[in-house]
């Protein structure tokens, strides 16, 4: 007979509602990153449930694989593919939302009703006997005896998937990337030699060294090359003349 101890009950009723709320939150938050975080939370709670149910190895693997690798991959891609894009939640396909919600309510309700009606046919056993040699050992024993063929097949699948992903995401370079040496030579070859030593940093010779303040050249004129092109496009550039260290041009001083 499966006796479920009180601590587990407490843990379940504490975490299960949280995980459901987090899952529901996944559906309604606008930012994909928030969805990802909520999903990661659900996965961690599931891992805790696994461990509570005697699947220690699976629980830890769930965290390492799902939370650690898979969700991290999701976050990574999310950040590569438009960080700021937050989804609009207005439905574009007519009627889909209500159909989906109705179907989901029916589906979930039926499923819960069916589970409630289902019986195991005997009392639940629990994993004390199966885990007597240790959960890891037990799983290893199964994995390398009964399930060795699926194990091999699935490892082949994993490698194939990795290769497939590499092929899909691979971006073929049409020309060779110039080496640092070549870049250096090219820099000296083309254009004037004035930039050969690198562009001036922002705020040089000025009292202010913030990124949005152009550097001042020794003659007191601002150097436009010292400002990031993005800032320039955004128009976030501050006039650097007021921060000039030493007055070179008397006209500016008079204006000041």
């Amino acid at each position: 007979m499966l006796e479920i101890a009180t601590p587990e009950t407490i843990m379940f009723w504490a975490l299960a509602p949280l995980s459901v709320i987090a899952a529901l939150g996944m559906l309604v938050v606008k930012k994909a990153v928030h969805s990802a975080i909520l999903l990661a939370f659900v996965m961690v709670t599931l891992a805790i449930f696994f461990i509570a149910q005697g699947a220690v190895f699976l629980g830890v693997v769930q965290i390492v694989v799902y939370t650690g690798a898979v969700m991290m991959l999701f976050l990574f891609i999310l950040m590569l593919v438009g960080v700021d894009s937050s989804d609009s939640l207005t439905e574009t396909i007519k009627g889909l939302r209500w159909i989906a919600i109705a179907a989901a309510l029916g589906f979930g309700g039926l499923m819960i009703a069916l589970i409630a009606r289902a019986t195991l046919g005997r009392t639940a056993i629990g994993l004390e006997i199966a885990n007597s040699d240790g959960n890891v050992e037990g799983i290893a024993m199964l994995l390398f005896s009964d399930y060795v063929l699926p194990f091999e097949v699935i490892s082949a699948l994993l490698i194939t998937a990795a290769l497939g992903a590499m092929v899909l995401a691979h971006h073929q370079r049409t020309n060779r990337r110039p080496s640092q040496r070549e870049q250096a030579i090219a820099r000296f070859r083309t254009g004037s030699l004035s930039d050969a030593a690198g562009l001036p940093g922002p705020g040089v010779y000025a009292l202010h060294n913030a990124v949005d303040v152009p550097a001042l050249l020794p003659d007191g004129t601002p150097a436009p090359t010292s400002i990031s092109a993005t800032l320039k496009a955004r128009g976030d550039v501050i006039e650097s003349a007021p921060f000039q260290l030493d007055v070179v041009d008397p006209t500016i001083k008079e204006e000041k």
């Binding site: 396909i93 159909i99 989906a100 179907a103 989901a104 589906f107 039926l110 009703a113 069916l114 009606r117």
Partner: protein, 629 residues
């Protein structure tokens, strides 16, 4: 000394030659013919070594077997790919590889101007390998592989000059008609498998006692069908004449000396089946007798030298089949005639090739005449072959044919009288048409066209002819010396029953010689002492016209098989178009129509599909809900 483990090289050498030459491509063009000849010669030398080794062994130890690998294994049924070399096989091995090698040598010169000579030699090697496999296989299934192999080689070689549509058609015809015979062999193998559970010669021989006569009769008839197909026997004889489309060495090797005798081999090899199935045996005799006369009659009317020889081949094989059908008394004589025939007929075909070589590939004998002086060596070798085939003592054909006639007479009763008469009549006609060929070609006035300069062939061509001529002179004497061949082969066959000598041997000899004299005289009267037109006379009797048209074999075939077949095909095509295609198109139209309707649900939005899946799952769950209520 050679052991059984070297048997595979008998086949392996020419097979390697074929594969190697085909795969090497143009690189081997310069030396491919020499290589192929060497492979064939190597096989012959190995065969000789085996022969001597076999003569050194006692009678019981002579058959040797080499098992290569287990080919099929299914339950109790097991077939090894194994080779068996016994007294019968060795005769064939020597004939095939020996004559084969001579013809390789001949072809080096004969085909020297053909740009595809390497391919030709590869096919020749393929043929030699397949034929050797045919005679060396230790089971019907192994034999079948070789059987199909020679069929393929024959097809490839008849159609070697397939740029001419007529030749391509001829090769197709040979292939299709052979397929009918092959079906017989297939069914025979199936019968053996189904009723005896084995397909090896030894196994079937042992099982003969177990199964009933009807089964054996059925198997025997099917084997006869196979033999008839491969050996151009009635009613499957029509392909042989057209097979002369191939290069002459091919005609000599395949369609005179070796492949067409495979049917005789099959029947002799299956002697235990036929001995136990008298009905089948009788059918064999009947088929042989009909073909004997049939071929001989055709031979009398043909003006094409190769076709005349082909008809002769058909007739001579008829002799062998008759002998083989006579049971234990005749098997050895069938083989003896087969071997002697191999020598003289191959020699004559090569002679014909030599004549054609000197006459700018002219095959019409009415355009020959008086070639004796131009081609003395060809004349001599051809003449020796001629003397052998018509049965002039002491040439080879005399001995073998004489024995067959005697055995036919002695088979007893009305059958004996009829068979004896038929074979004797055959001898008369043989003498007639062969004399006709001889006279038309080599004596009389020259009738050839302007611009043709007959000349003797080079040594590379006449040497094989000379060797074969020597064979046709001496073989018969050697085989009958102390009944050598009969003794050699006797362990393989059931003991000859005691029977009365109805007709003493000396009487038969006299009768046979008389028949030859009658035939020769008649031919001389008609062709030597009268002038021969170089154009074909048209005011001839109905019989002659019939004979010129191969006694209507093609007409019969066409009326009996081709027309109904075409009608059937047309009917099936009609059914196919209306019913089958109609159904298919209807289904297609239905699919397209329903697709056009269903396409509206395909919005392209994955999410709506997902919603549909969700609804489907909902329905499924509801179903479960209802079912488990």
């Amino acid at each position: 000394m050679v052991t059984s483990s070297s048997l595979v090289y008998l086949i392996g050498l020419p097979l390697f030659g074929a594969v190697f030459l085909l795969l090497m491509g143009r690189k081997a063009d310069k030396w491919g013919h020499l290589f192929a000849t060497a492979m064939s010669a190597g096989s012959f030398v190995l065969g000789l070594l085996h022969f001597f080794a076999m003569t050194n062994r006692s009678e019981e130890e002579r058959p040797i077997t080499q098992t290569l690998f287990t080919w099929i294994e299914a339950g109790d049924f097991k077939v090894d790919a194994a080779l068996l070399l016994d007294q019968l096989s060795i005769c064939f091995v020597l004939l095939i590889s020996g004559v084969g090698t001579l013809i390789h040598i001949y072809s080096i010169s004969y085909m020297s101007h053909d740009e595809n000579r390497r391919r030709f030699f590869a096919y020749l090697n393929l043929f030699v390998a397949s034929m050797l496999l045919l005679v060396l296989g230790n089971s019907y299934l192994n034999l079948y592989v070789g059987w199909e192999g020679v069929g393929l080689a024959s097809y490839l070689l008849i159609g070697f000059w397939n740029q001419k549509p007529a030749y391509a058609t001829a090769s197709k015809k040979a292939f299709v008609m052979n397929r009918v015979g092959d079906m017989g062999l297939t069914i025979a193998i199936m019968i053996a498998f189904a009723t005896m559970g084995t397909v090896s010669f030894d196994g079937v021989k042992e099982a003969v006692d177990r199964v009933g006569t009807p089964t054996l009769t059925a198997m025997g008839i099917m084997l006869l069908v196979a033999a008839a197909g491969k050996s151009a026997q009635f009613p499957l004889q029509a392909w042989l004449g057209d097979a002369m489309a191939g290069p002459t060495p091919v005609s000599a090797l395949i369609h005179a000396a070796t492949m067409v005798t495979a049917g005789v081999y099959l029947i002799v090899r299956s002697n235990f089946v036929f001995d136990a199935a008298p009905t089948a045996q009788l059918l064999v005799v009947i088929v042989g007798a009909i073909t004997l006369i049939f071929g001989a009659i055709i031979g009398m009317a043909k003006d094409d030298i190769k076709k005349a020889l082909a008809a002769s081949t058909m007739s001579q094989i008829g002799y062998m089949i008759v002998a083989a059908g006579l049971g234990p008394a005749g098997y050895a004589f069938a083989i003896m005639h087969l071997l002697t025939h191999g020598f003289f007929k191959a020699g004559m075909f090569l002679g014909a090739g030599s004549v054609m070589h000197g006459m700018n590939d002219e095959v019409n004998m009415r355009k020959y005449g008086g070639l004796r002086k131009m081609m003395p060596i060809t004349f001599a070798t051809f003449g020796l072959g001629y003397l052998a085939i018509i049965g002039v003592p002491p040439f080879a054909g005399f001995y073998s044919k004489d024995e067959i006639i005697a055995t036919a007479f002695n088979s007893g009763g009305a059958q004996g009288i009829i068979l004896g008469s038929v074979t004797l009549l055959g001898a008369v006609i043989t003498a007639f048409y062969m004399t006709r060929v001889m006279v038309l070609t080599f004596s009389g006035k020259p009738r050839w066209d302007d611009g043709v300069h007959p000349h003797e062939s080079p040594a590379l061509m006449w040497l094989p002819m000379a060797l074969l001529a020597i064979g046709s002179v001496t073989a018969g004497y050697l085989f009958t010396q102390g009944e050598a061949l009969v003794h050699w082969l006797s362990p393989l066959f059931a003991k000859k029953g005691e029977y009365d000598e109805l007709m003493p041997h000396s009487v038969v000899t006299v009768l046979a010689i008389t028949a030859v004299i009658i035939g020769v005289t008649a031919a001389l009267m008609k062709y030597q002492f009268k002038s021969v037109d170089s154009v074909v006379p048209t005011d001839v009797s109905l019989a002659t016209r019939l004979a010129r048209n191969d006694l209507g074999q093609d007409v019969v075939n066409e009326a009996l098989f081709m027309r109904p077949g075409q009608a059937l095909t047309e009917g099936i095509v009609a059914i196919d178009e209306r019913v089958v295609d109609g159904a298919v198109r209807g289904i297609g139209a239905m699919t397209v129509g329903s697709g056009a309707t269903l396409r509206r649900t395909q919005s392209g939005y994955v999410r709506s599909y997902a919603a549909l899946i969700l609804l489907g799952a909902l329905v499924l769950l509801a179903g479960i809900w209802v079912v488990t209520q």
